[in-house]
Subunit: 144 residues, 2 copies
């Protein structure tokens, strides 16, 4: 299928969901993280795929920016916020991710340059960034 | 840019990462989920983008399958496991997701039919599924 890893693996982890929407999903190899999940449409405690996906993108992109801040001798001040909306689709549901990035310690031109570079470097951005449902952009203040 | 939500939002949540790779990322609207994150290449406690992305896909796809099991009058028995590998890229890193699905209570032909339908319905699969780095497939037993 062409979907073959051609790089040496530097890290391998495995996770499982067997419960479905309401229950626990967990890491089975490479950590001991366990999360309680629930429907976003109910008021039950727990997280959901929307939040997990948003946290994956926010953390990966900001970690990538943090490394670039370091290369440039800048303090770490960047923040990444992701708003996730769920909408009904012709088949099932869709998620829409609005990823807003603040890099407040530099001028806008440099912030744009840092973000463009980090979007090309960040592994999660590489996977989700080509989707029409995902937008990544620089902001002065977060606004959803 | 064409990246505009054209559906009514049924659910909205917001998450933030301000710490970078080592620290807390958290939900700021639509829940109170907070995660400790750390580098996958260090032995520090905490989860990481690899696990968060894997958990998002595993939970979303299995919840979608669970709904389809219900429509067919089947017990919920499906399990979704995701293996995530990190490899060095020409620019930064890449993640590779091997998403393995077990639907053990039905014959293989029906299991393939359920999975194909649910890949088209699952919001996370819609976003990540077109990436060359993501493979989703039916298995009898999990093997990574």
């Amino acid at each position: 299928e062409g979907k073959v890893m051609t790089f040496r693996s530097l890290y391998h982890t495995e996770v499982i969901n067997d419960a479905g929407l309401n229950g626990h999903a967990r890491v089975t190899l490479g950590g001991d993280f366990d999360v309680l999940t629930s429907s976003p449409l109910q008021d039950d405690p727990g997280t959901n795929p929307e939040q997990l996906l948003g946290l994956a993108l926010a953390t990966c992109l900001n970690a990538t920016i943090e490394a670039e801040e370091g290369r440039r001798g800048l303090e770490h001040a960047a923040e990444v916020k992701v708003g996730v909306d769920m909408g009904k689709d012709t088949e099932g549901y869709q998620f829409f991710l609005d990823c807003q990035v603040r890099i407040p310690q530099v001028a806008e031109a440099e912030a744009q340059e840092i973000l463009a570079k980090c979007e090309r470097r960040c592994p999660v951005a590489k996977i989700v960034g080509s989707s029409q449902n995902v937008r990544v952009h620089l902001v002065k203040q977060f606004a959803f």
